[in-house]
Amino acid sequence: MSITFQNVTKRFGDVLVVDDLSLEIADGEFVVLLGPSGCGKTTTLRMLAGLESVTSGDIYVRGERVNDVPTQQRDLAMVFQSYALYPHMNIAENIGYPLRVRKLGRDERENRIARVAKLLEIESLLHRRPRELSGGERQRVALARAIVREPRAYLMDEPLSNLDARLRVQMRGELKRLQHELRTTTIYVTHDQAEAMTLASRVAVMNKGRLQQLDTPLNIYNQPANRFVAEFVGSPSMNFIDGKIERGMFVSDAMKIPVAKPDSTVSMGLRPEHVHVLTQPQDGAIPASVYVTELMGNETFVFLLVGKHKLIARAPADFRAEVESKVWLRLETDKAHFFEKTKSTDYTE
C-alpha cells in the first residue's frame, strides 16, 4: 500500500514539530525513519495513523486522501513507543484484541496468538497482566499485538529499543522475514544503525521536523546529502576538519591534502574507519597524539588530537596506545567527503 506525505506540517500550539514534510513510500517498501530525539518521528507516524490531526498538507494512502479518515478505518498496525498495552487484559487478550474486534473465530485467534508469542519468546507470559512484565517483555507484547494481524501497513516506533542485543538481532531477522513474506509497507522508527542498515529498503533522515535525505541505507552512509546526515549516521560519527580548497589542495592548519575540487571554503568529513593509526612514522602520514582510547572488545576507538582538531579512529580490538603517546595517521582521503559552507549553517556535498 503506497503512502504519500504531501507538504505535511504539524504544530502543537506554536511548537513546529513537522515542517513541510513530503515523502513517497511505495507499496511494499520498508522505510526507516532516522533522526535525533524530538525531531518528529513519532508525530509523523501518529499523523499517518490518524491519532494526530495534520496542521496543513495532505496524507494519501493508495492515492486517496486520508486526512479525515478515522483511525479505525485506516487499518494500520502500530507499535507505540510507550507500548500502550491494555492494563486490564492479560497478555493473550492484549495480543488477541485486534483479532477479536475483527470477529475472528476463537481457535483461529488462539493459534495465531500462540504463533506470534512463540516468535517473540513470550509464550510463558500469556496469562500475566502487563504490569507483571519486564520492560522488554512489554515491548515484545506490543510488537506481537501489531504483527498478529495483517494490516495494510505497519508503523513501528522503536519496537526493539528495550531488548538485549541477542534478542534484537533475532527479532530484526524475524521482522525482515515477515516483511519479505507479506510485503507489507512498513514505516519503522529506530535509533539503531544496524536495524536501519539491515531492514530498510530506504532510510529517511529527519532533523527538526524536516526531511534531510531519503535514500538507500548505503547511500545514506556513503553519500550523505549534507553535513547533518553525515554526522548523524554512523557511530562513532564522522570526523570533520574545516579548511579551504586552494589550487587542488585541501588546506587546514593541521594538514595539506591533494583533492580534485574547485576552490572553496569547506569542511572535510572522514569516517573513523578511514583513519588508520600507525605507531611508526610513514611518508604522507600525519602526526597526532592519543588522548583516550575506548576498548569495545571487538574493536577500539582511538581519540586523537591533530593540532587543535579532535579526530576519532577505529582501530582493531588489540590496538593499544598510551595516552599522550605520539602516533601517525593515514587518511583514506579518497573516501573523504567535502561539505561546502553555504549561507545556511548546513553544509551540503
Binding site: T71, S82, R138
Partner: protein
C-alpha cells in the same frame, strides 16, 4: 484525534438532558416569583407572569433565614473538610498497604456498613448521646454527625481513585526522597483531583441538605440549618409554595457556586500520557 462527526448529535443530547434537568429548577424559580394565583394557573405560566419578590421577603426578612444560611454554611464546610481529610488518609492506607488478616479489606467493609443503618433509627440514640455530651442544639453536634455520615463515602470513593494511580509514579516520589504523606499530598492527590473534587462536592451537598439529623439534634434557631428552616414553611393547612421555592433558590446558590469552582478540577483528569508500559 477523536472523530467529530458525532458532535452535533452529542451536543443535541446534552442539551436535551440539560433541559430535563433544569426545567423543574426553572419552574421552582418562577414559582418563587409568582403570586399564588399564578402558581396554580392553568395552562401553566412558564414565562408570562408578573413577578413579585414577596416570597423572598417572607422567607428572609420575616424569619431568621439569614442565620440558618450561616449555620448551614459553617456546618457543611467544616464537616466536609473533616470528612475529606480523615477519609482520604484512611482510604490511602487501605489501598496502599496490606494489613495482616486481610484487615484492610475487612476495615473497608466495616466502614461501609456503618452507612447502611437507616438514619431514622440512629437519630434517636444519637440524640440521647448528644444530650449526655451536652452537645444538643449545637453546630458541633451536626458537624460530628455529618463527618461520620460522609466518611464511608469518602473512603470508598478515594479508594477507587487511588487504585487507579500508577504505582511507579508514586514510587518515583519515594525514590526522590519524599515521605509517604509528602508523596500523597504532592503527587497522588493532584492526580486524583477530579475524584477529590467530585467527592468534595457531594459531601458538601449532603451536609448542606441533610434534614433529619438537623431536625432531631437542634431545638432552637441557635443551631437550626436551612432545610429545617425551609421545612418550617410547610404548615398544617397549606404549603407556602412561593416561600419554599424562594428558600430553595437561595439554598441552591452557594452550592452551585462551589460546584462551578470545582468544575475546573472535574475537567482535569490524570494526564497519564507520560507513563510508559
Amino acid at each position: 484525534m477523536r472523530d467529530r462527526r458525532g458532535g452535533i448529535l452529542q451536543t443535541g443530547l446534552v442539551v436535551l438532558a440539560l433541559v430535563l434537568a433544569l426545567a423543574p429548577v426553572y419552574w421552582m424559580i418562577t414559582i418563587s416569583l409568582k403570586t399564588e394565583v399564578d402558581q396554580f394557573a392553568s395552562p401553566p405560566k412558564w414565562f408570562t407572569f408578573t413577578p413579585t419578590l414577596q416570597h423572598y421577603y417572607d422567607a428572609f426578612v420575616t424569619r431568621s433565614f439569614g442565620q440558618y444560611l450561616l449555620t448551614s454554611a459553617i456546618v457543611a464546610v467544616v464537616s466536609t473538610a473533616c470528612a475529606l481529610t480523615i477519609g482520604t488518609l484512611a482510604a490511602y492506607a487501605l489501598t496502599r498497604f496490606r494489613l495482616p488478616y486481610g484487615l484492610d479489606r475487612r476495615l473497608s467493609l466495616w466502614i461501609l456498613s456503618t452507612r447502611m443503618f437507616p438514619a431514622i433509627v440512629t437519630a434517636v440514640p444519637l440524640f440521647l448521646m448528644m444530650r449526655d455530651l451536652r452537645l444538643l442544639n449545637t453546630k458541633a453536634s451536626l458537624i460530628i454527625v455529618y463527618t461520620a455520615f460522609n466518611l464511608p463515602f469518602v473512603v470508598w470513593m478515594m479508594r477507587g481513585f487511588f487504585a487507579e494511580v500508577p504505582r511507579d509514579i508514586e514510587e518515583a516520589a519515594l525514590v526522590d526522597g519524599d515521605s509517604r504523606l509528602g508523596a500523597l499530598v504532592r503527587v497522588i492527590l493532584p492526580l486524583v483531583s477530579p475524584g477529590l473534587a467530585a467527592t468534595a462536592v457531594f459531601c458538601l451537598i449532603v451536609s448542606w441538605n441533610e434534614f433529619l439529623f438537623a431536625l432531631v439534634l437542634t431545638q432552637t434557631d441557635a443551631a437550626m440549618t436551612l432545610p429545617v428552616g425551609i421545612a418550617g414553611r410547610v404548615t398544617q393547612y397549606e404549603i407556602k409554595w412561593g416561600v419554599m421555592s424562594a428558600a430553595g433558590v437561595v439554598a441552591m446558590i452557594p452550592i452551585l457556586v462551589f460546584a462551578l469552582a470545582m468544575q475546573r478540577y472535574l475537567v482535569r483528569g490524570l494526564s497519564l500520557g507520560a507513563v510508559k508500559g
